[in-house]
Structure formats: structure tokens, C-alpha cells
């Protein structure tokens, strides 16, 4: 019997769903082996029945549930709880689902105050924050495992399409799902010479030094070139063509797969990594930025209101 799959997106951008599509040609075969019962981006199953007369939000039962996005409002929570109830195995897909992702940067502020400000921009007519028939925001943005039990985490912004395909295939065949456990640096072929003479990290305002015709493994490590690069404190998984994705573009890592260790704090870990290499961590001008992908789980907290 085909494996039944339900998919949902919450506080999300659809990048995870595009990553599912980027499985590419094997997807056609996979789609035939799976029985999708609910996936709003591709399929018209409705919460309240096909003519909208139901009273309770309903998602069909499934063997595997996939949820992208964090939890930012009441509707997200309701959908997540229904997914948990109806799915035997629940997968958190993408860094918003596993660690809050970028939307959790809003946890720096009181959500209602932040919303008020958003409706006061220079082009916005005088108004109040919409509050009719739209879901109320929660007090902050949560990762999924702060709200329900999650069976498998596949982080990444976006997640690696091959991890998604691999996880689905493993579940189809009743095998164990294997995902990377090391750091981005462990998958990075750039040249490291050990402790350098870098004392401060630079903003990425000029390009790295490298020769375009030469492969990545001839380029000096970007951190050793003095650029802030979060490879040391970020979970591996983005590497596809022999190097981490951003490094292929000759651009430093910003940590989009979240911390290497479960429960790790990318900001503290990075500060430690810099300090232990004799680099002044005060040269990082925006430290909160280092939690830009992993601010849920209470790691980014509200600033005290300024008077």
C-alpha cells in the first residue's frame, strides 16, 4: 500500500516546498509511490470540507506528516496540533520549523508593538492592525518542538533536497534516516592554515580573495581571510557540489542549518570560537544577527522597551 503523506506550511516562505520540488526527476517516481492526502501548495484538500460547511479543522490521517515554518499565530498552532494528531511520523522541515528561522528575529520585540509599527510605514494610510477574521499572533515565534512532539528534524534554509528524498525513501523502506551530524567546516574544502593573524572580523563589504578559474579547494578559508563565517558552529548539510552552498558563491556562511549540537547556541558558540582564535568578538557589529536562523527556544528575547 502506498504511504500516505500530509504536508503543511506555517510561518513559512514556501522555500521548503520548492526544495521538495527540487528533488527533480526522481520526484515523478516518488509522487507515484506516495499518496498525498493533503498539501495546500499542490492540492485542493480543504480544512472545512470541499464546500466549506464543516465546523472543525480537519486534515486526513497520514503515515508521514511534513511541516515547514515555525509557529507564529493561532492558526499555525491549530494546524500543527491537527497534523500531530493525524500523522504517525511528524517531520519538521526547514530551519523555521526546527529553530524558528528568520521570522524568530521578531522575538526581539513585543509582537503587538512590532505589528503596530509595520502598519505605520511611510506609504500606509492611517489604520489599526488588522484583527478581524485573521489569526491572532502568539506572544512570540516558536519552533515546532516547543509545541508538539517531533519525530524527525530536517533543517536548512532551504533544506537539502537530497535529504528530503533520502528521508522519504528511508521511511518508505522502513530504514533508519541518516542525516549529517558534523559542522559546515567539516564539509568545506577551503585551505586552512591554522591560527592566523586575524584580530578582527570584517563585514562582507568586499569580495574574498581567490582566483575564479581555480577550484574552491585552492581558496583560503574565509574566516582566516578575516570574514565572519559561521561554518564552525553550523550544522553541515548544504554541501552539494563538493563545497557548502554559500562557499560555492565565494560568500561566507551565515548559519542557515542551525547549531551543530541540538540545543546549541550559535551566537555563544561563535563568540567562543572567535575568542579561542584570538579574534576580538567585539568586532562583530551585530551579535544578535548570529542567531538569525535559530532565535526560537527562547534564545532571542525581547529587548527592554526603550522610553
Amino acid at each position: 500500500m502506498a504511504v500516505r503523506v500530509a504536508e503543511e506550511w506555517l510561518h513559512a516562505c514556501s522555500g521548503c516546498e520548492v526544495a521538495i520540488l527540487n528533488i527533480g526527476e526522481p520526484l515523478v517516481e516518488l509522487l507515484s509511490a506516495l499518496d498525498f492526502v493533503h498539501i495546500p501548495v499542490l492540492m485542493d484538500h480543504k480544512y472545512y470540507g470541499q464546500t466549506g460547511e464543516g465546523k472543525v479543522l480537519d486534515i486526513p490521517e497520514a503515515d508521514v506528516g511534513i511541516v515547514s515554518g515555525g509557529v507564529g499565530n493561532e492558526e499555525h498552532l491549530e494546524v500543527l496540533e491537527e497534523m500531530r494528531k493525524k500523522c504517525k511520523i511528524l517531520i519538521a522541515l526547514g530551519t523555521c520549523a526546527t529553530h524558528g528561522g528568520l521570522p524568530a528575529l521578531l522575538n526581539n520585540w513585543d509582537v503587538n508593538e512590532a505589528h503596530k509599527q509595520i502598519y505605520k510605514t511611510i506609504t500606509t494610510d492611517a489604520c489599526t492592525v488588522p484583527d478581524q477574521k485573521v489569526p491572532k499572533p502568539l506572544d512570540r515565534v516558536y519552533a515546532l518542538d516547543e509545541k508538539v512532539k517531533i519525530d524527525l528534524m530536517i533543517p536548512g534554509c532551504p533544506p537539502n533536497s537530497q535529504h528530503i528524498a533520502g528521508a522519504i525513501l528511508a521511511l518508505l523502506n522502513g530504514e533508519e534516516v541518516k542525516l549529517p551530524t558534523k559542522s559546515v567546516c567539516d564539509t568545506c574544502p577551503t585551505v586552512r592554515k591554522g591560527k592566523g593573524d586575524v584580530k578582527k572580523v570584517r563585514r562582507f563589504l568586499e569580495n574574498a580573495a581567490y582566483i575564479a578559474e581555480e577550484p574552491i579547494d585552492k581558496m583560503r578559508c574565509l574566516l582566516e581571510q578575516g570574514f565572519m563565517c559561521m561554518g564552525p558552529v553550523t550544522l553541515a548539510g548544504c554541501a552539494k557540489r563538493g563545497a557548502p552552498s554559500c562557499i560555492i558563491a565565494r560568500v561566507p556562511c551565515r548559519g542557515c542549518f542551525g547549531p551543530v549540537r541540538k540545543g546549541g547556541n550559535q551566537m555563544l558558540d561563535m563568540m567562543n570560537a572567535l575568542a579561542s582564535n584570538g579574534i576580538d568578538f567585539k568586532s562583530v557589529i551585530d551579535r544578535k544577527n548570529l542567531l538569525r536562523f535559530s532565535g526560537a527556544h527562547g534564545l532571542i528575547r525581547q529587548q527592554r522597551p526603550t522610553v
Binding site: 513559512a12 516562505c13 514556501s14 522555500g15 520548492v18 526544495a19 527540487n22 527533480g24 526527476e25 520526484l27 515523478v28 501548495v41 499542490l42 492540492m43 485542493d44 480543504k46 472545512y48 470541499q50 464546500t51 466549506g52 499565530n73 492558526e75 528568520l102 521570522p103 526581539n108 512590532a114 509599527q117 509595520i118 502598519y119 510605514t121 511611510i122 506609504t123 500606509t124 494610510d125 489599526t128 488588522p130 484583527d131 478581524q132 477574521k133 485573521v134 489569526p135 534554509c157 532551504p158 563585514r203 562582507f204 563589504l205 569580495n207 574574498a208 575564479a212 578559474e213 552552498s245 554559500c246 562557499i247 558563491a249 565565494r250 560568500v251 551565515r254 557589529i285 551585530d286 544577527n289
Partner: protein
């Protein structure tokens, strides 16, 4: 009060929305609302971030069109810092932006919209989707998946990431293009152009001509249009000036930096998304179907309407055929799909033009940048409409405030009108079914929100 029909979630779109159709005591449509349910707050949480980091934050606004946000943002940061990108940096950015349009259009037309036409608008929801197409037309499906994948992997191969890109940087681009890369991308784009021409023919024969009656009625409203053109009035999607056209066809051109003189955003208490309107028409805002005020549309049909011509031959021929049939400006909502495939052809032709110019491999890809206080507006044509990023920075080059007008939002008010028009036309005397409600959604899907 009569019954309320709720379509939730609106499906095969990017994002969270629901439709409420309120019926009167006789079962006829009294009112409709398209509720936009999501608010993440990018305008707020980029505050304090170093501006050069923002292009790799705001790309997460949309996973389908991350290149658009990435590059509108890069342009806005350039303007804040007073830097002009090098010619090669500029070309590489445009190349990636135009290539990203190719994938987007294949995705929208074949994966999201086509099931309504290929499987049929009234068919069972369990098969009215791309999985249904895989089963009903496996060869077509295989080809579509292959072509979309080719486009995505071209971007990934050259720029590291296709989704949530990082290669656009203030001052230009992070890596140059080698001759080997140029030749490879050119060869692949020629394959994509062949597919684009096939796709347009396929859609004309199997969709547009077959559904002409539906196209001329469903969701049809009369509005103005907004898009981007160059100094010769030709369609542009990366750079140019904005053109705001009235329903009568008269228009005004302006640089994007002056957008606040022309556009404002209305807010309804029942939708998180703001509703931009043409402030410069000085008639206010109204979504009344017979007497709309300030309402214009954006996205493919709008761009096809506002441009005088298209500067690439195959797309120009398609535009001429389209205009001969539907006039200028064309108002039928479902023509967004047709216009989308004309733009698909343009995007392939323009990519080839850019790659044929060997100066794109010039290694001088990034100008010198110094962070400073300033204000900058960046605009590109995203698949879903004119995308405007407006930032103010402090002395340290960090963001003080931001204002974003995102492509889809230009069409929020028009989508509401199209929903009302479609529901009113379809639902009479309390008679409705899932096929009719799906047709109401088709009026939304045309806008590819």
C-alpha cells in the same frame, strides 16, 4: 444573516489565504472577502541589521521568488551607500533575475494553474493537481519537471544557491562567470527557449482556445496597470522606470525612487496584507466592481499591457498576436496565464542575449563599498509584480527603517474584486458545488499570489 461559505485554505497559491462568501437569504452573493492570514514582520526585524546583510535576509520573504527580493534589496543597499555596481556585476545580477523568472513561470503555469485546465475545473480535487497530471499525461509531466529542474540547477550551479541566494552583494556580485560557465549556461538556456516556445503553443492549443469563454468571463474586472519599461517603452523586468497606466490606457512613467508620490497602501481590518493603490489618481480607494477607485494591477498581464513592445523577437511576435486578439490594455483576468507564457519566452530570450555578450565574464564584478547613512529605493519586476524595497541606514550602515511593497500586494484589492465578480456570477439562488468554488479560486490563481 445568510450562510457564509468558507474556502480555506486557498490552495495552489504561495501563501496563506481564505475566501469567505456571504450569501443573502435567497442564496445569492451579498459580499466576499479574501483574507490574507500571514504576517511575519520583515520590515521590523531587519532594523538594526548591517545593510549589506539584508539581501540575504529578505530573500526569505518568498521561497518561490527569493532572487527578486535579494536583488531589489541589493539595489536599495547600493543606493543607501551611494555605490554604482560595476558593469559585469550589474549584468550578472540581471542574468540571475531573468533566469529565476524562467523557473517561476514553469512552476506556476504547469504545477499550480494547469490542473484546472488539463484535468478540468470541476473534476475531483484528489486528481485536480500536478500528481493527477503525472498520471494523466506522464510524458508532459516528465518534460515539465525536467525543464524546471534544469533552470533551478543552472542557478544553483553558477550562484551556489537557487533558493535563498547569496551571490548578489552591494557593489555588484560575489563571483565572476568563467567562459566555461558562460558556454554551459548558454547551451542550457537554448533548451529552455525551445521548451518555452513549445509551452506557449501547447497552452494556446489545449488551454486558451479551449477555455476562451471562461477566460472572457471569470474574474473579469476593469482596472489600471503597473509595470516596468525602458526608455523606448520596451518590457523590462530587472531595471527601468515604472509605468502606471489608467484603465483608459493613458499612462505616466516615473523612477522607482519617486514611488511614494504615486502609490499608497490601504489597510482593511480583515486582511494582514496591505492594498496598494494609485494615490496619484486622486480618487481614493474603492473595490466597488462598477466604480473602482485607485485600483491597478501588477504581474504578467500588467507588464504585457504597459509595455509598447518587447525587444526580443519571439516574445514580440507573441505579444502582437495577443494584442490583435485582446487589445491594449487587455482586462480579462485569466489572460494573466497567457501573458505569463509570453514572459517565459522573453525571459529565455533575454537570458540568451545576456549570455551571448562575452563582457559578462569580465572579472571586475564588485565596486568599492563603504557603509554610511543614506536612503535607497530598489525595484525589480518580480513574477508577481513590481517589487519595491526602501531602506534608510545610519552612519554605521545599519538599517534604521524599511518600507517594502511586495509584488503580490498590488493585486490584493484586484483579487478581492475578481473573487466577488466570480462568486456573484457563479452562485445563484443558493446553488453551489465544489466545482463552482474551485472556479472562484481560479480567479485568484490567475494572479499567482
Amino acid at each position: 444573516m445568510g450562510k457564509v461559505l468558507t474556502i480555506q485554505p486557498v490552495t495552489r497559491i504561495e501563501g496563506h489565504a481564505s475566501i469567505a462568501i456571504e450569501l443573502d437569504d435567497n442564496g445569492n452573493v451579498k459580499d466576499t472577502k479574501l483574507h490574507l492570514m500571514s504576517l511575519r514582520g520583515f520590515e521590523k526585524f531587519i532594523e538594526g541589521r548591517p545593510a549589506e546583510e539584508v539581501p540575504r535576509i529578505v530573500n526569505r520573504i518568498c521561497g518561490i521568488c527569493p532572487w527578486m527580493h535579494h536583488l531589489a534589496s541589493v539595489k536599495a543597499v547600493d543606493a543607501c551607500f551611494g555605490v554604482t555596481p560595476t558593469p559585469a556585476g550589474h549584468k550578472l545580477r540581471e542574468l540571475c533575475q531573468v533566469m529565476a523568472h524562467i523557473n517561476d513561470k514553469i512552476l506556476h503555469f504547469f504545477f499550480l494553474a494547469a490542473p484546472d485546465f488539463v484535468i478540468g475545473p470541476d473534476s475531483d480535487y484528489a486528481v485536480r493537481n500536478v500528481i493527477g497530471i503525472v498520471k494523466a499525461a506522464p510524458e508532459l509531466a516528465q518534460q515539465v519537471v525536467k525543464m524546471r529542474q534544469l533552470g533551478q540547477m543552472m542557478l544553483e550551479r553558477f550562484a551556489g544557491k537557487a533558493i535563498h541566494p547569496i551571490a548578489g552583494v552591494t557593489g555588484g556580485f560575489a563571483k565572476p562567470m568563467t567562459e566555461v560557465e558562460r558556454v554551459g549556461l548558454l547551451r542550457d538556456t537554448e533548451t529552455l527557449l525551445d521548451f518555452a516556445v513549445y509551452a506557449l503553443d501547447f497552452a494556446k492549443n489545449n488551454v486558451f482556445n479551449k477555455y476562451l469563454d471562461v477566460i472572457s468571463k471569470l474574474g473579469t474586472i476593469t482596472t489600471g496597470f503597473l509595470g516596468t519599461v525602458d526608455d523606448n517603452g520596451a518590457l523590462r523586468i530587472y531595471d527601468g522606470k515604472l509605468r502606471l497606466m489608467q484603465p483608459t490606457g493613458e499612462y505616466v512613467d516615473f523612477p522607482c525612487s519617486e514611488y511614494t508620490d504615486y502609490l499608497a497602501e490601504h489597510v482593511e481590518p480583515w486582511a494582514y496584507a496591505k492594498m496598494p493603490y494609485a494615490k496619484s489618481w486622486q480618487e481614493g480607494f474603492s473595490m466597488d466592481l462598477d466604480h473602482p477607485k485607485g485600483i491597478y494591477r501588477s504581474n504578467t498581464l500588467a507588464r504585457i499591457n504597459v509595455c509598447d513592445h518587447i525587444a526580443t523577437p519571439k516574445a514580440q511576435a507573441a505579444l502582437e498576436e495577443f494584442r490583435a486578439k485582446f487589445g491594449r490594455p487587455a482586462q480579462f483576468t485569466l489572460l494573466y496565464h497567457w501573458a505569463r507564457l509570453i514572459e517565459l519566452v522573453y525571459a529565455c530570450e533575454r537570458t540568451i542575449e545576456l549570455l551571448q555578450d562575452k563582457s559578462i565574464t569580465d572579472p571586475n564584478i564588485r565596486a568599492k563599498v563603504e557603509p554610511k547613512a543614506g536612503r535607497g529605493v530598489g525595484c525589480v519586476e518580480a513574477p508577481r509584480g513590481s517589487l519595491i524595497h526602501d531602506y534608510t541606514t545610519d552612519d554605521n550602515g545599519c538599517i534604521v527603517s524599511a518600507n517594502l511593497i511586495v509584488g503580490t500586494t498590488h493585486n490584493i484589492a484586484p483579487m478581492n474584486m475578481s473573487v466577488k465578480q466570480a462568486a456573484t456570477m457563479l452562485i445563484k439562488d443558493g446553488v453551489y458545488d465544489q466545482g463552482m468554488l474551485n472556479k472562484v479560486e481560479m480567479a485568484v490563481r490567475a494572479y499567482d499570489p
